[in-house]
């Protein structure tokens, strides 16, 4: 008996020792299994409370009434810094942890771009954001802006605002004040450059904001402008020849569903000299704010994606050979139709004559990594993947044209997305590759915009693998704003809640 026990222990010890490297290599799969069978979450009292509502604002609408363009100063021209993508409302927290506030409501603002060239204390330099809050419907409040002649807008008389939070990057504290001046305090502003996000926590005690806790309907107007220290309310006045003096100084505004931002921001009236009137987004805790797509719409999108997949052309090897293609064109054709062996020998052929051919190198990198996936031992497969990255590094050195760079980014991005994260830690660099690829696609025309969307979705998926959920959402929102999406991409975005309807035709 003792002997058997000893043998079992020795066996166990040997197996344990041998399993340690495999444990680390497969840690990602173990984690994803654990996440399914034992899902954990971080206590919301740390993170600002469960999410109550999310409002998505279109990407690329940072031009106000359609005529505004970014200030010309170099520091202010970073793309997307004035483009609000998402506004998140959290449920009120009554026992905040690791924070100076006990009772608060957190609001998150996610922008398409983020930069801090002037070292703003809150972590960003541009924009200036005002959030107007109406907590009592039409009962009381103001329809004018907090500072006169600042944003040059007015607010709906059905929801006059009661409180305003004025945020700029040069102060870690935002001003919170009531419309009649009876309350005035400050709110901490936090920012996360890696997530393109700004967070504020509204203190709900002692500020007249406590009614938010009742679970009543609350309306929000979120207006974004270019920051200027000297301008009224810090909203920069962008003058263009012939523009009206009533044109709002608002680059982006969180428009409610079905409301056209351009129309709303151009609704000023020269005759009556009245400002453009804005409508708020409304959070009603009594209703489910689910963004999720209806099942039948999702089913429709799924069918369309399947149809698209079935209609993908396939070619026999002989057909490709008859096409009289040569060099990289032939290599790409082989690769696209999944004749990887032929693609590899074509790549080798090109590289033997032209060792610095960036396109052949990029494909060679992908094929090497794929060979890694098929290798019989883990060691071989890791070595091959590492070799693939060496090839990609070389490609990076020699890639000059947009086409070459694009080929590199897409190939390397795809490899980074498909290899185990716990061993190679490549998801973040994969996301960056896809983002760079999307940028290049967007500068091209025609069907390339749908390729840009695919690249952005891939970037988002890489960010999720790296645990960067907000950065992923930024990519998904950007992708969903592209009109020419493929059916497969549309379905992917719908599954994640970024698209609500199937195309009508």
């Amino acid at each position: 008996m003792k002997k058997v026990r000893n043998i079992i222990t020795v066996l166990l010890a040997v197996v344990a020792a041998a399993s340690i490297p495999y444990f680390f290599i497969n840690q990602e799969s173990i984690i994803s299994y654990l996440q399914r069978v034992f899902p954990l979450k971080v206590d919301e009292r740390y993170t600002g409370g469960d999410i109550s509502a999310e409002f998505i604002d279109p990407y690329g609408d940072d031009n106000g009434d359609g005529s505004l363009s970014y200030p010309a100063y170099e520091q202010w021209s970073t793309e997307g810094t004035l483009d609000l993508l998402k506004f998140t409302i959290h449920k009120p927290v009554t026992d905040g942890k690791w924070t100076s506030l006990r009772v608060f409501q957190q609001l998150d603002l996610c922008l398409a771009g983020f930069s801090n060239p002037l070292s703003g204390a809150a972590g960003f330099s541009n924009p200036v954001i005002n959030i107007y809050i109406d907590i009592d419907g039409s009962a009381g409040g103001s329809t004018k802006t907090a500072k006169s002649r600042a944003e040059l807008v007015s607010f709906s008389p059905l929801a006059p605002w009661d409180f305003v939070v004025s945020i700029n990057g040069f102060s870690q504290k935002a001003d919170l004040s009531s419309f009649d001046g009876s309350y005035h305090s400050s709110v901490m502003v936090y920012s996360s450059p890696s997530e393109n996000s700004i967070y504020i926590r509204l203190p709900l005690e002692k500020n007249g904001l406590l009614p938010i806790m009742d679970g009543r309907k609350v309306s929000y107007y979120v207006v974004v402008g270019a920051y200027s220290q000297l301008a009224q309310g810090n909203f920069m006045n962008i003058k263009t020849r012939g523009s009206s003096r009533l044109r709002p100084r608002v680059f982006d505004y969180l428009s409610p569903d079905g409301v056209d931002q351009h129309k709303m921001l151009s609704s000023w009236n020269e005759t009556s000299r009245s400002y453009a009137e804005l409508k708020p987004v409304t959070w009603d805790p009594a209703q489910s704010e689910s963004n999720s797509i209806a099942n039948e719409e999702l089913e429709k999108l799924k069918n369309l994606a399947e149809k698209e997949l079935q209609s993908q052309p396939s070619k026999k090897l002989g057909e490709i050979s008859q096409e009289n293609l040569k060099g990289t064109a032939l290599l790409i054709e082989y690769f696209n139709y999944s004749y990887f062996k032929e693609a590899e020998s074509e790549a080798d052929k090109i590289l033997s004559e032209e060792p610095e051919n960036a396109i052949a190198l990029a494909y060679k990198g992908s094929i090497t990594a794929m060979n890694g996936g098929k290798a019989s031992s883990v060691i071989d497969s890791v070595n091959l993947v590492q070799k693939a990255y060496e090839i990609f590094d070389k490609t990076e050195e020699v890639a000059v044209t947009d086409e070459e760079k694009l080929t590199l980014y897409m190939n390397r991005g795809n490899v980074s997305k498909s290899i185990p994260e716990s061993v190679f830690l490549k998801s973040l660099s994969g996301a960056k590759d896809f983002e760079r690829a999307a940028q290049i696609f967007q500068t091209m025309d025609g069907e390339n915009s749908s390729k840009a969307a695919s690249a952005l979705i891939n970037a988002g998926e890489c960010y999720i693998r790296a645990g960067k959920n907000t950065a992923a959402e930024v990519c998904f929102i950007k992708a969903s704003s592209i009109s020419s999406l493929s059916a497969a991409d549309r379905y992917k975005l719908a599954l994640r809640g970024f698209i609500q309807t199937a195309p009508s035709n």
């Binding site: 026990r5 000893n6 222990t9 020795v10 166990l12 010890a13 040997v14 344990a16 020792a17 340690i20 490297p21 444990f23 680390f24 840690q27 173990i30 984690i31 994803s32 654990l34 996440q35 034992f38 899902p39 954990l40 979450k41 971080v42 206590d43 009292r45 740390y46 993170t47 600002g48 026992d95 942890k97 690791w98 924070t99 100076s100 957190q106 972590g123 901490m188 936090y190 920012s191 996360s192 450059p193 890696s194 997530e195 967070y199 060691i379 890791v382 590492q386 070799k387 990255y389 060496e390 590094d393 994260e421 716990s422 830690l425 998801s427 999720i464 790296a466 645990g467 960067k468 907000t470």
Partner: protein, 392 residues
């Protein structure tokens, strides 16, 4: 019958097997094939690890080379960790934005404090990422579980990236200036009380209060930004805890003071140790009762009762091997956990590969290699850049 010399020779040859496997593992997990400084740094670290393991294996002075590794492991951890923090969140200090964003690395010490809540409510009372990060919650939990099954409390002498600090400071002085070799029972069990207190209070307040108030390593990892009186007070406590528990007391007592008396994770691992594969055994018949092991044990895990009666050190033993190296009678050895009494190791030189004295350091060192390979080469690269004046 084989002569002793022949047996030794065969033993040496047989030991080439674990050495070769370890070299493969080191190569596989440590070497960065990209050209440049990173490759050079990874080769330096890889060779360093190979040398250390070879010395452990062939000289039988496991504790000495483990100690060298362990101290360097801890020292190399912090520069890369801090640079990583600065890269991901722009600063070393922990701000509320990082908490909102769950950018706080999930360190193993917080595991016992959060694990009960997690099991009961599936909620983690700590603002860390769930996955997708080297120090995410799931990543640390799985590493902890795997290590605990194999090593139990051996984590504290082979895997903990904090322990090396104390190991280092406890070795700075040759002489013991304060003798706590035979401490009162209350001191020996203080960390269990600490664990119980922290679990209860953290459970009630839904906050990991160890991290908020007591962690001695905040000073060298991520201090909280001083924004109010509370954070000011906490920072003073962190500074005092670091210098008191990690520098001064280990220096005076030549013991790993924080690990053995204060650390709640240490206490937790002592409990978890029951499920591990290995432990240390004492052959009570061979033992000369000299008490040297009591004096040398850095974690207060040896008592007279251990070598007179039980034949094992206390469960707080971290499997560092110091007592094994120092025992002149050769009465102490690594063993399997289930054995009640120490067993004579097989004289068959081939069987040595299956003995705990080879298997434990082998398994433990694999963990050390893989975990350290994620940061040590980067620190060496930084040092190389600093030496060549390349850091701006």
């Amino acid at each position: 019958m084989l002569t002793k010399n022949k047996t030794n020779l065969i033993e040496y040859i047989v030991k080439i097997i674990p050495m070769a496997i370890m070299m493969w593992i080191i190569y596989f997990f440590t070497i960065d094939p990209h050209n440049g400084l990173a490759t050079a740094a990874s080769w330096i670290y890889g060779l360093y690890l190979c040398c250390l393991y070879a010395l452990m294996l062939f000289t039988k002075r496991t504790a000495l080379y483990r100690r060298i590794f362990f101290i360097s492991f801890a020292l190399m951890f912090f520069p890369t960790f801090i640079i990583n923090l600065i890269e991901t969140r722009g600063r070393m200090g922990l701000s509320e934005a990082d908490i909102v964003n769950t950018e706080t690395p999930f360190c193993h010490i917080v595991i016992p404090i959060t694990v009960i809540q997690a099991a009961l409510s599936k909620t983690i009372i700590f603002p860390a990422r769930l996955s997708g990060h080297y120090a995410s919650i799931y990543s640390m939990l799985t590493i902890w579980l795997a290590t605990s099954i194999v090593l139990g409390r051996g984590w504290c002498s082979w895997v903990c990236f904090y322990g090396g600090w104390e190991e280092g400071t406890s070795r700075l002085s040759k002489k013991k200036r304060l003798n706590i070799d035979k401490p009162p029972e209350q001191l020996r069990t203080f960390n269990y009380a600490m664990l119980l207190f922290l679990v209860l209070v953290s459970g009630v307040t839904v906050s990991s209060i160890y991290c908020e108030w007591f962690c001695p390593f905040k000073l060298v990892t991520e201090y909280s930004e001083i924004t109010d009186f509370k954070s000011y007070l906490a920072t003073i406590i962190f500074i005092c805890a670091f210098f008191g528990l990690v520098v001064v007391m280990p220096f005076l007592t030549k013991k790993r003071f924080q690990c053995s008396i204060f650390c709640p994770f240490g206490a937790f691992q002592s409990i978890v140790d029951y499920i591990s594969i290995y432990r240390v055994s004492i052959d009570t018949d061979k033992c000369k009762k000299c008490g040297k092991c009591i004096s040398i044990c850095p974690t207060l895990s040896m008592t007279e009762a251990c070598y007179k009666e039980t034949g094992h050190p206390l469960r707080s033993c971290t499997k560092c091997g110091e007592c094994i190296d120092s025992c002149q009678a050769g009465a102490i050895s690594y063993d399997f956990n289930h054995r009640k009494r120490a067993r004579k190791e097989s004289s068959n030189p081939f069987m040595i590969l299956l003995s705990p004295s080879i298997l434990l350091p082998f398994s433990a060192f694999i963990f050390s290699v893989i975990i350290s390979s994620s940061f040590a080469p980067s620190t060496i690269k930084l040092a190389m850049m600093a030496l060549s004046g390349g850091i701006k």
